[in-house]
Symmetry: C2
Subunit: 160 residues, 2 copies
Amino acid sequence: MEEAKGVVMHVVLAKFKDGIAENKIEEIIKDFANLVNIIEPMKSFNWGKDVSSENLNQGFTHIFESTFESTEGVAEYVAHPAHVDFANLFLSHVEKVIVIDYKPTALNPTNNVFNLFYADSLRSSMLEHQRRDGEREICNAFGASDSLALDWTTHCTSGM
Amino acid sequence: MEEAKGVVMHVVLAKFKDGIAENKIEEIIKDFANLVNIIEPMKSFNWGKDVSSENLNQGFTHIFESTFESTEGVAEYVAHPAHVDFANLFLSHVEKVIVIDYKPTALNPTNNVFNLFYADSLRSSMLEHQRRDGEREICNAFGASDSLALDWTTHCTSGM
């Protein structure tokens, strides 16, 4: 089972307390998203409301997913004062919460999807010099033979 | 808040029953992953064990994330006989489970990371003609001006 190098997904499930106004929830989500701009190891943030129809959400209504380079990065995030402040606000507004961190593993032959996912997360949140260093590292990891990114562009630019 | 077009993340949290052998769990995970090869709307599959240190996993030990093109795609997956068989096996081995579906929303200016994520999920799981159709659609969506993929390749092939 192949493991994506250096990507840790940080997954938060929440049910907000009854009676909290929708615009208060939106404000909290914006504060959550803003941590990407404050805490360096946090590389991306996405969220959504549950839309499943299997009746197995156990009452959870929201999910938040962010990416980190390492479990050490998550630990740095958890301890960061901006996160501590946010977590206090967040936890006072939720009835229940689950937090899971995991290193995504595919059973497919390659895990390029997560390399690209990670690469683009880095791109969108880094300072210029961090971005350049990160890209150099990832391009080296791709290597000359691992041409998924090249291949993709060829498809987009050739007539197909 | 910008929403990624057409991507639905299907997230399953589980705690396996005590006493189930590790190799049985691995077998179940392989069966889960294999649904990508059987059920057309399921575009990718990744999983991981919880490695968080925040003590908020509420006993959940495993997470499984797959991607779909639409909520209709998830519904087709849920009703598919191969999924029904697998779900019966899976549910008989877990103590508790949560299922959340969501359409990832970023608060960043673009959501290209999910476009690429989705594009590469398509690539790895499609038949040749499905892949060509999907790529044509995605290249059209990128458009001439949205050159993140091109940009990325330029960085990899130029000296940086």
